[in-house]
Subunit: 428 residues, 2 copies
Amino acid sequence: MALRAGVVVTGTEVLAGRVSDQNGPWVSQRLLEMGVDVAHITVCGDRPDDMTAQLQFLADQRVDLIVTTGGLGPTADDLTVATVAALYGLDLRLDAELERRIDSIVQRWRGRLSSAADSEPLRAGIRKQAMVPDGAYSISPTGTAPGVAIAANESGTLPTVLILPGPPRELQAMWHEALESAPIARVLLRRADVRQETIRAYGLSEADLAATLRTAEQDVSGFGELEITTCLRLGELEMVTRFAESAAADYDNLASIVDRRHGSKIFSTDGSTIDDIVALRLSGKRIATAESCTGGMIAARLTDRAGSSAYVIGAVVSYANEAKTGLLDVPADIIDEHGAVSEPVAASMAEGALNRVGVDIAISTSGIAGPGGGTELKPVGTVCFGIAVAGRATVARTLRLPGDRASVRALSTTAAMHMLAEALESEG
Amino acid sequence: MALRAGVVVTGTEVLAGRVSDQNGPWVSQRLLEMGVDVAHITVCGDRPDDMTAQLQFLADQRVDLIVTTGGLGPTADDLTVATVAALYGLDLRLDAELERRIDSIVQRWRGRLSSAADSEPLRAGIRKQAMVPDGAYSISPTGTAPGVAIAANESGTLPTVLILPGPPRELQAMWHEALESAPIARVLLRRADVRQETIRAYGLSEADLAATLRTAEQDVSGFGELEITTCLRLGELEMVTRFAESAAADYDNLASIVDRRHGSKIFSTDGSTIDDIVALRLSGKRIATAESCTGGMIAARLTDRAGSSAYVIGAVVSYANEAKTGLLDVPADIIDEHGAVSEPVAASMAEGALNRVGVDIAISTSGIAGPGGGTELKPVGTVCFGIAVAGRATVARTLRLPGDRASVRALSTTAAMHMLAEALESEG
């Protein structure tokens, strides 16, 4: 791949592990989609020396583009612009027009706050945010902080750099204008034509896919041209392949080998997620969930999606047994006889949701997420699922899912999505 | 801070932004808790040159300890041990005892899989995972991959390195044994005594806290000894301060200034989260939720916690209006008159959950998460909350929350937790 980039994520709270960084992954995905190879992501705190060291490291690695995120705020510990400018030997100058724009944004915000803060520090902060390195391009603020784009230096020892704000929404809103700024547009002209394809399977082990890939290595002539990564997450195995357009036939070859061996477990080859598939198949139908161990996670996941009100009618979280009987009409004697974590109870919960909420399909979970509550017969990780479809026999299944409480709950939620997709497909 | 560490996260799927890294933050938090300063986190793909460059960068930065995560699997693209060994000039040798242990683990796992994979690649993978650099310490596998600890080289140009597996559960399970391995224990002896204190506030702006800190800079003599970071997340502002024990009085001084100015918004100074506080205050009580725009997220969050079955009885997600009337007895004419997103409906939902589920306290949400559905009077982000407590008047409130659908839902969930904490406190 011709064009290489590095991403510098700044923020002590990210470095300290208190906040999970969203910007590095987001920027990385956007760059890869455009055919820019991301070689390094580095995370540094609010210390100029460490940031300078990371910028210099990326320059030494001969990346063509550095994207930094964060450190553009009004306070003293936000020092990305000053640090980059110092490394590039550029003076900072006040952009008076920018200062006025930021000031009007801040004034608008302040109007909504009841604040006793004095205004001189505020003005100092605004002035700080309006400082632009000499010769750099300023990108319109989407919050209060403008972005900055700086071209590679003339000797070529320092690459083009794009400085973006830390709040993910501000960064994302700024992305398109940033790409069009002169220094960034110029470096992007040099990018190669790279394709990326994704195969997603559920219930396929990494070892089995690895074995298939070893075979394919012999059978696909241009295998070496394909950059393959596999990743297992919540039972879903994702295989992403990046390749130049010239290797497209080799990829097709590989994809058909994978499909021949594992087709029954593959659920997506066009980038769609299981959430996309479930949403598509729910079109024109009505759904409800009845959840115990997942505690509302399936409903939350279904309603995560814009437009889900077209098919999600409601959900009942019946965490206590009395809620299973009271809200979902699960007969108390079934609970007594089989236990709350059992296929008969899961089936009855799904039917209860189907009838009570009045929908076409309902899914239920009842399981032992742990850490307590496990027995020899029903250890932690035992989860029963029920699927009730109007006019069809209710189906129940039991899985034993590994890991701790969070893992069991997350795996259960994903398993439920796959069961829904399957049930909706067979229903046609 | 005396001891500095760097973390190298490996994995193309992390670098490509397809997976959010959990290991960097986890390792960073553990190191900081022990008084080890984390200077850099770097992320690299499965390319030995890039990994070597990052390791060399950290060595050049004179860190005392490098922790790597990932790249210990059986496949060819897992190359952390070989890459580190090459940089340190150490040969790899097969640890036959380790090979037997991994083999028995894998055989046990294979028994549970129905796999057609051939076994020679499998054996090669096991052999690969049992290769240990000369003079290195092997750490017992918690999955199939052992960890490795390597002491700093004699000339001191390369620091001590701890190599850990990528699956978070395996890594975390290995941590304690890893700390006790000779090379790691030796380097940790040199760490300084560092304290970390956290103040959490809700509804306090970063600008207002920054203004307070500017004042404190004048009033607290040892202000410079305090390393302060602030971070705003879902309306919660967190201020974390790290300092040497000798600066404890300065911190106390600062903390009391912050408390004097913002005490009413501070909800935690002992590290507890709002989830901890709600759980504590729910002790001996029974709770239910009635959710529309949050779609089960509050229930999912409450039941995230081990032991929550002691107080969470159930929840109703009434996404459609018919579910609000059918499952929560919200009178249809209230919906007609005020709209589904209104305080009367939110109040009625909470009361419906209180009565139907039979609990002591119930919280409800009804809002416009977007992207569609907003009006001039009720724009996207308008969310109504209701809190019903047995024997008390039901309270309803409306917030206008910023951002996209995911943001509105997440902010609503956190707002609900704070309202719960408040209602439970005032109840005594």
